[in-house]
Structure formats: C-alpha cells, structure tokens
C-alpha cells in the first residue's frame, strides 16, 4: 500500500487527526467525545501512518514502544483517583480549578482521568496492531 498519494496525505492527516483526537478528549465532558473515542481516533491516525509508510517508520516516529504508554496512562488515572485523598476527601472526588482556562474550559481531575484512559487506549490498540504487523513482516522476511 505504498502509494505516494497516501504517503503525502498522511503527512498532513496525522497531525490533523491527532489534533482532532485531542479535541475529542477535551470536549468529552460537555459534548459527545471523551477518552475512549479520542484514544481510538489517535490510534487510527497512527495506523494510517503505518499503512502508508510501514510500521517500522511509525515506530521510529513514536520513538518509544506504544506499550510504555499503558503504565503512564494507568498511572495518571490512578493519580486522579487517589489525589483527593491528599485533601482528605474520598477517592474520586472531582477537584476543579477555580477559573476556566481559555480554549479548554474548566479543568478538573476527571479530565486527567480521561487523559489516562486516552493514553491507555492508544497504548493498547497500537501495541496490539503493531506487534501483529511487525510479526507479519518478520514472517515475510523468512
């Protein structure tokens, strides 16, 4: 599937899709969207990139194994669950900044939770797809 058209298209599509996925994540609390969808869209962006440029190229772009996103995401989720404990509140209490931040809007601990979910979803999907696809490449070389 190495078509030059697709290759040059993904060059622009990847950042746009990533931006879109982040947008879905941020607005998830008010409009349809959220961590799951955002994460899935971001994964699709990378999968598209890997289709046009090869999985190895995408892995180089990512610099790290997608597997490492999973602990990071889980860590952020756990932190947003346990953070209220530090303030003497029951776990999972929503904590909110007083002032809305421009563009993003209100920021609270549930956004961080969603961010964790987002990262875990990306990590999971990419780990699954890339390990399989790299394995296929390995088989082909044999």
């Amino acid at each position: 599937m190495r078509s030059p058209i697709l290759q040059s298209a993904t060059k622009y599509l990847l950042p746009i899709l990533l931006l879109f996925s982040f947008f879905l994540l941020l607005r998830g609390h008010y409009y349809p969207g959220g961590g799951f969808v955002g994460g899935l869209v971001a994964s699709i962006a990378f999968v598209l990139h890997s289709f046009s440029n090869g999985t190895e190229a995408t892995m180089r772009l990512l610099k790290r194994k997608p597997l490492s996103l999973i602990p990071v995401g889980l860590g952020i989720s756990v932190m947003s669950v346990t953070l209220p404990l530090l303030f003497g509140l029951p776990p999972m209490t929503g904590l909110w900044f007083e002032q809305p931040i421009p563009v993003i809007g209100m920021i609270g601990s549930s956004l961080f939770f969603d961010l964790g979910v987002y990262l875990v979803v990306i990590g999971v999907v990419l780990t699954i797809l890339f390990t399989i696809s790299l394995d296929n490449n390995l088989d082909e070389k044999k």
């Binding site: 349809p32 969207g33 959220g34 999968v47 939770f113 780990t127």
Partner: protein, 772 residues
Amino acid sequence: MLLTVLSGLIFSCLIVPFGKILKTKWSIILPIVPFLLFAFFAAQIPLVSSGNSLYQHIDWVSSLGINFDFKLDGLSLLFSLLITGIGTAIFVYALSYLKGHRYFDRFFGYLLLFMSAMLGVVLSDNILLLFIFWELTSISSFFLIGFNNDNADSRKSAITALTITGLGGFFLLAALILLGNISGTFIISELVQSKEVILNHPLYPLLILFIFIGAFTKSAQFPFHFWLPGAMKAPTPVSAYLHSATMVKAGIYLLARFTPILGDSELWHYSLMIVGGITMLYASIHSLFRIDLKSILAYSTIAALGILTFLIGVGTQEAMVAVAVFILAHALYKAVLFLVTGIIDHETGTRDITVLRGLGRVLLPVTIASIIAAASSAGLPFVTFGFIGKDLIYEATLHYPNMEWIWILTGIAIVTNVGIVAAGLMAGVKPFLGKLPQQFEKIHLPPFSMWLPPLLLSALSIVFGLLPWWAGNYLTGSAANAIHGSSFPQENLAIWHGPNLVFLLSIVTLVLGVIVYLVNKPSLSKLQAVEKLNNISPQSIITGCANSFLRLSDWITGLSHNGYLRSYHLKIILFAEGLLAYKLWKSGPIVLDFDQLTRPDLYEIAVVLVLLGALFIVVSTASRLTAVVSMSVIGYCTCLIFVFYSAPDLAMTQFTIDTLSTVLFVLVLYRLPSFINFASKKILYRDAAVSIGFGLILSLVALRVWSEPIAKDISDFYGENAYILAKGKNVVNVILVDFRGIDTMFETVVLSIAALGVYSLIRLRLKPTEKE
C-alpha cells in the same frame, strides 16, 4: 485453655523451620510439650473433682455464633489427661521408634497437630468449634495413617479412613447446625436448658441419626468399623495413640457429651444399644481369627468401643460410671499392648503371632508391661483396674431397669468380654511364652525410652487397680456426673464387693476367656476361611458402592465430554433455550403497548435491511475476506442505528472500533486458508434449527422485558446531578469518568492485560524442537 489447645498447633508450625534441629539430640524437647500440658490438667484435678468447671470465652466470629468457648468439666478433664498423659508416653516412645527416619520432624508435627485438635474437641463448649477440631483430628489422622507415603496400601487406608470419617463429619455438621437452629444457641452448656424443646422437635430423629453417623464413623462402629483395621498401616505409636486411646474415642466423647442434651428418648437408647451390641459381638469374635498382632488389637479396640457405645445406650447411672472407668482402663492397657507390639515389630520385623514365641527371655521389661496389660484387659481380679471396669459393665447390665432385657444384655457383654480376654492374651502374652526360636536369639532390648513408657502405663493399671477409690474420686466420678448430666451419689470404686453375682460373672468370663485362648489356635488357613465372608462384609459393600459411583461418573463423563467444543456449545445452548422457554411460558402472555413504539423511517429500515444482508453473507460465505468485510458492514450499520437513536458517543466508538477490528482481521486472517465445510446437510439443518430457536427465544425475552415498565431512578439521578455534582454536560462521559470512574479504571486495566497478552503471545516464539 485457649493456650493449651493452641500450644500444640504453634509447636507444630515451629517444626517446619526448626525441623532439622529436632532431628538431632534436641528432639528431647518434644515430649516436654505434652508433659507440661499434662501437668496443667493434672493441677486442675482438685478443682474439677469437687464439682466445678472451668470456663473461658474469647470472641472469634461472634456474628455467626462461632467463638472460642472452652469448658473443662469432669469428662473433658478425663479425656484431656488421657490425651496429654498417653501423649507424653507416645512422644517419648516415638523418639526412639522413629529415630533416623527421613520424616522424623514431620511425624511430630502431625502428632502435635493431632494432640491440639483432640484437646480442642474435648474442651470446646461451642459445637461449631468442636466440629472444626473434629475435622482437624480426621485430617491429622489421614496424614498419620498415610505417613509411609511410599506404600500404596498405606495411602489407600489413609484415603479410606478419611472418606469414612469425613463422611461422618458432614453428617455431624448437619446435625450440629440443626441443633443450633432448633435451640438457638451453639453453646453446649446452654443447649442443656433447651433439652425439652429439642426432644419434642419433629426433626429430633433426623438430628440424632446424623449425630450417630458422625459418632459411629469416628468411633468405628458397625457398619463403619472397617477403616480402623486399615488404619493400622500407620506407625505403631500412631495406632496406640490415635486409633486406640484417643481419637477413636472422640465419637464416644461426642455421644457422652450429648447424652444430657439428647439422650432422654427410647430411640437414643435402643439405637445405641443395638449398634454397640452388634459392634462388640462382631468385633470380639472377629479378633479371634486374626494372626497379625495389630489386627487383633484393632478388632478388640472396636469391640471395646462397641461396649462404650452400648453402655451409653444403657444410660443408667451405673452405666455412666462404667463408661468413665472403662475409658480409662481401656486406654491404659490398650496403649501398652500397642506399644509392646511396636517393640516386637521393631525388633523382630514381624507381627505374626503364629511365628512369635518365647520373647520373654530377651525382652524382660517389655514382657512385664505386656503381661500386666493383658491381665488388666482380661480383668484379673484384685489387682488390675481392668477388673473394676469389667465389674462395672456387669453391674450396669444387671441393673438395667427392664427385667426382660437383663439377661440378653449381660449375655452379650459376657461373650464380648470373653473375646476381649482371649484377644488380650493372644496379643499380650502369647508372643512371650514358649521356647525362643533360633531366628530371634540375637534380639536385644531396645533403648529404655521405648520400654519405659509401656511399663509406666501398665504400672498405672495396677496403681488404679489397687487404689480404685482414688481414681473414682478424682477422675471418673466427675466424668460420670458430666455424662449423666447431674450429680448423683456414687459408691466408692472398690476392688472387692464381696462374692456376689457380678464377681461370679467376672470369674466366669476370665475362665472362659482363658479356655478360648488355649483352644483357639489362630492360623493363616482359618483367617483365609474367614476372609471368604468378606464379600458380604460392610467394607466390600461400601467400597463396591464407591466403585460403582466412580464407574457411573466415568460413564456420564464419557458420554457428555466428547472433546468437541461445538458439542459443548450445543448442550449449553439447548439447556439455556429450555430454561428460558420454561421461564417465558411461566411468565404469562406478553402485552404490548403499541402507542409506545417509535415509528421507523424509511432510511432506518434500509439500514436494517443492509445489516441483515451482511449478516446473511457472514453466515453463508465460503470466503474469509467476504465474511470480514460483511462483519464491518454489520458494525457500521449498528453505528448508524446508534446515530439515529441519540447515542453519538456510541456511534463514534463503534465506528472507530469497527475500523480497527477490520484492520486487525485483515492483518491476521488473510493468511489463513478459506473455510472448508465439514458438516453434513443434516447437521447444518439441526444447527440452523437450534440457532433460530435461540434467536426466537431471545427476541421473545427482549419483547417481554421491553413490555415491562423500567425504573428510571438511576438514569434520572445521573441526569440531574451530572452538571451539579460533576460539572459535566455529556452524561455518558460523566458516568464513565466520574460516577463510575473506578469501573472505567478497571476496564482500562483489562485492556492493558489484553494488550500484554497479545504482546507476549506474539513474542513467544517457540523453538523448533517445541513445535509439534
């Protein structure tokens, strides 16, 4: 008292890390544990014999009524002293008996565990606590019988014993819970007060039936007796301790303990007398045909247990005194006989009484102990405690309130006692008399730690025989009171009541026993003749039942587990269909409210039709790629349905997931060969019928559920509070990340696990040798 019960458990655990040390000369500290406990209980004698009891209560699981309630009364004290006293002797003996054994430390671990459990049984005042310790004794007995675990026979006997006693344990648990439910308490001392309620309860017969099964299995009563001879595969100290002196008496203890609560009915009396009577006759006659020393002792132990059951059944005051005295007397002489057997076995390597002769010359102290024990078992007048025990048995049968029964009961008692006398002489005297065969000439006396314990124990038989009032006042008297449930005046135990009928019977028994001993020459051929009757013995019947159960389950397993996944699916689905159809049929007609229906638009119907078309292709296509593509069509159509019916979040998720799934399928599946149709037309039609039936039933279920009004409370709560509590307007997202955030977090954990699974499955590259 908690400490006394737990000390054994604690030491038993300590043996795990310190086992190596205990194999050296430090092993000497082992007998100190039971000895200290013995000293503790001995110190309580004055208190208890004056009619008081010691109580202790510690909360454990109070909500379920299971607490550490301990009570030390006369009966418990008698048993505790036997457990710790004989325990001390056994521990000392076993030090030499098992010296250098590979599992020396393990053996003492089990033994300590058993001692604790047994103390727990006799000290518990809470019936559930009692049950826990009861099961622990079964388990430790299992380990000890199977101690020589490289011997197949030994393992088999251990399993038999565990099966029988474990079975009894289940019944006992049922009985105890029933008892607790009827009376509302699990405390034995309080149960006595609800005696009337329990006796008049309609479930009373069932209750005592279960108690009986529990007690009879443990105390080897007919027809559950056969595990005990098998249990003789255990090392001899174990046989002496568990299977003669203490554990098998747990059933007797149970019956004695419940006599004040349950024992006031004809059913109770007669069943115990009948079962005890059969057991004692059967076992004492059986013992005469055995040629293995331990086998003889096993059967005479069963006979003695039968006597105890029988006496509890008789239930008079005299009988209770007889029970208490006979427990003590029997434990003292039977333990000695077992220990002596152990020494003989250890030194000569055989237990065959047709071979053993003349050992008196080489094993003098052992001979003395053995002959005293045999004399006590025979009830030699004036000097042995066994005589008093025998006396009291006749006393009890002769004073039975129902005149017509007196001679039957006394007759049974005489026959049994004759058998016991003969068995005692066979086991305790015969090996030591006569000319020493050449093969045994090199035998020498074992270390004193082996012959001293039996000698001391047999000395006690004499001491109590000479000072019966002492034993009566301090030990058996209060025990008899506890069994009877009231304090009644007791005559002092005495060795000499004058030449009355009882004395005459004792002498007759003794003489007859000696005659039987002299006349009866057990031999292998006789044993084999008796063995032929085995086919109709309870043992063969029960093992036969067990074997047919095994075959039955084997047959059923073979029938239903044919190893084909689809046939399992078929069975599960058919069963689910049946269940759901039955439930639907029972739930009555479905009433539909047509006003509630939403009108479908044309484009919606189109989407559904496309979906159905794709579905048909998935099912019927032979090409894998077509199937995958159709699957994604199904996914996108579902996604559209979500869009139409106000679920934008779902639609987005479904859309992306569907895309990714297709990518996934294509990545993996394009390499696989295309479908092959294995099944015949007939099977295809059958499966189609089953699946259409399933779909139909589920549609009906859906219709049924849909036609019922649903509670919207929770949805309304989320709707109202989404913004106010969680500052979010997309309620689905608020539920996911806030209200039910923990669920979502664990969902991400599940996702991560799946990813790790995929990662490791792919990375796991088998070496060529591991491939098939």
